[in-house]
């Protein structure tokens, strides 16, 4: 697919600490966190004006699902906006809790594992054609996903156990995967989940749901993660021979690779032989480059993705990680841990280092360690801060998200009861006019205009508020009202006939 819808769902860890008493448990903090959301939408599961979804998931995890994006930088901007939205809510929760006598700090961590080994995810969704041969898809995609962690893993300081000393691993999630492909999520997590809710025309599309990924802090790492995966999917869809990397034991392999930061771990290929993750990725990169030479680049970041892909593989293969220490999450974090350990003479596994591993993922703009590194130029970025701010309030402009955003913000401004989800758009007063928008790639639909027109002629007086006006509203910025209703006098005189 030249234009592909991609979305990412992020579950955040949550904790409260540092007050005079013991911190509140996560479910209590989550309740405070979602108070403004509940007040705004009378539910803790809502679509917000930027067309993304904000909700409290299983296990009291605050979760943010980006709207449909067909551009990698829109996707990364929306995902980063999610961090800032959570931060805004966390600040408000902290203030409300302090008022109730629970002082201390609220932490929202965009990571994937807590101190007891509970895991929560970063789920990627890729729209693929229904015609994609699923067996072919899995034989190519599974080895790619199992080995992708050496490029886009978020890195983890693994605490010591009876068998292994404390050590640094590529991935947060690798140890929490139990199957290659299945329909489970919490019970037994697969790398690819077969839940096929395309949120579109199921005769044309299916949704590929990848739940093996780590949550990334780095925009550069994110670009490589989504960009390389999209390129591999393009090759799968094109039907070209890609090579045989089918793994004998994907789950054994994913762990084996994660725990060997030297990149030398080799894994068994089903049809014979052993290869390292670098071998497999290098062949896929090579194939992808040839594919693009023959078919052309489908967006203007393809060369940048190839360069990052190659540079990262070289760094892993050589053990010389310096060239990627500003760009790749696991390497950025590893550099920092080594610096701190050396300065303080701390052994690997020291609580201070474990704390740093977690604090790297703190979404707080001036406390989160990744954000501190980025502010000092020790981590690269891809987006201007202004673009991320806009993504807090603006839906992506080129997909169905634009329609959803306009629909829900218009209905709110007109005071009209409504419900929306990924596909459905309904005004409660006009149930028979409910719309199903089944093309996620379409940002225009006259039916939406017609339906919104039925809200009355004052729709014509709606004016879009500026970012400043929206910041001035009492609500969290992400929930601020997009439109302001004008005076009835602003309506033009009806033409004389």
């Amino acid at each position: 697919m030249d234009r592909r819808v991609i979305g990412v769902e992020t579950e955040f860890g949550i904790t409260h600490t540092g007050g005079t008493h013991r911190g509140l448990p996560p479910e209590e903090v989550a309740r405070y966190l979602f108070r403004p959301v509940l007040r705004w939408g009378r539910s803790s599961n809502v679509f917000i004006p930027n067309a993304s979804r904000l909700y409290l998931d299983v296990g009291s995890h605050p979760e943010y699902a980006t709207a449909e994006c067909d551009d990698l930088l829109d996707l990364i901007a929306s995902d980063r906006a999610g961090e800032l939205i959570m931060h805004d809510l966390a600040q408000r929760a902290e203030a409300a809790m302090t008022e109730d006598g629970f002082d201390g700090s609220v932490y929202l961590l965009k990571n994937n594992v807590d101190s007891q080994g509970n895991s929560y995810g970063s789920h990627e969704n890729y729209l693929i054609p229904r015609t994609t041969h699923f067996r072919r898809l899995s034989t190519i995609l599974l080895p790619f996903l199992v080995t992708r962690q050496i490029m886009v893993g978020a890195g983890r300081l693994v605490p010591a156990t009876d068998e292994t000393p404390a050590h640094y691993a590529f991935s947060q999630r690798a140890d929490h995967m139990w199957e290659g492909i299945s329909s489970a999520t919490t019970r037994s997590r697969p790398i690819i989940n077969t839940r096929d809710e395309p949120h579109s025309d199921a005769a044309v599309h299916r949704r590929l749901h990848v739940i093996v990924g780590d949550s990334n802090m780095s925009e550069t790492t994110s670009l490589l993660r989504y960009g390389a995966t999209d390129l591999v999917l393009r090759m799968v869809e094109s039907g070209i021979p890609v090579g045989d990397f089918e793994l004998e034991n994907p789950i054994g392999a994913i762990r084996h690779i994660s725990h060997d930061i030297t990149g030398q771990a080799s894994v068994k290929i089903r049809h014979g032989g052993e290869q390292t993750a670098v071998d497999i990725q290098a062949r896929l990169l090579d194939r992808a480059r040839r594919f693009v030479r023959e078919n052309g680049a489908h967006h203007d970041r393809v060369e940048q993705i190839f360069e990052l892909w190659e540079r990262t593989l070289q760094a892993v293969a050589s053990g010389e990680h310096a060239p990627i220490e500003r760009d790749i999450d696991w390497a950025i974090k590893k550099r920092l841990l080594i610096d701190v350990a050396e300065r303080g003479g701390l052994p690997m596994g020291h609580p201070k280092l474990e704390q740093l591993d977690m604090a790297y993922h703190d979404v707080h703009p001036t406390r989160g360690v990744f954000n501190l590194l980025a502010a000092r130029g020790r981590a690269s970025t891809q987006l201007e801060p202004e673009r991320i701010q806009r993504a807090i309030v603006d839906p992506p402009a080129t997909t169905r998200a634009a329609l959803r955003g306009r629909f829900l913000s218009t209905a709110r401004a007109m005071g009209s009861e409504h419900t929306v989800d990924w596909v459905h758009h309904k005004l409660v007063d006009r149930p028979l006019d409910a719309l199903m928008l089944k093309d996620p790639l379409s940002a225009e639909d006259p039916r939406v205009d017609t339906l919104l027109g039925r809200l009355g002629e004052r729709v014509a007086t709606l004016r879009e508020q500026s970012l400043e006006e929206r910041r001035a509203q009492e609500l969290p910025l992400a929930l601020s009202e997009r439109y302001k209703l004008g005076h009835p006098q602003e309506l033009a005189e009806p033409p004389l006939i």
């Binding site: 009291s60 895991s119 300065r343």
Partner: protein, 66 residues
């Protein structure tokens, strides 16, 4: 929207024509500058982290998600 240029470490002294000895002095100054920057970063991180690392880590317990 443009990609931010990659910052590359500056090699040696500002003076491009500096002889080797001056280059070594420059590299030394550079290394000192980097060490100073690192100290300042680590101090900043220390100032924002919860002081009881062990309590922070142990207190971070979630229910499983997904």
């Amino acid at each position: 929207m443009s990609t931010q240029p990659q910052k590359r470490p500056q090699g040696g002294n500002d003076d491009g024509a500096a002889p080797e000895a001056a280059g070594a002095v420059g590299a030394n100054a550079q290394a000192q500058k980097r060490a100073g920057e690192l100290d300042s970063l680590l101090d900043e991180i220390d100032s924002v982290l919860e002081s009881n690392a062990e309590e922070f880590v142990k207190g971070f317990v979630q229910k499983g998600g997904e």
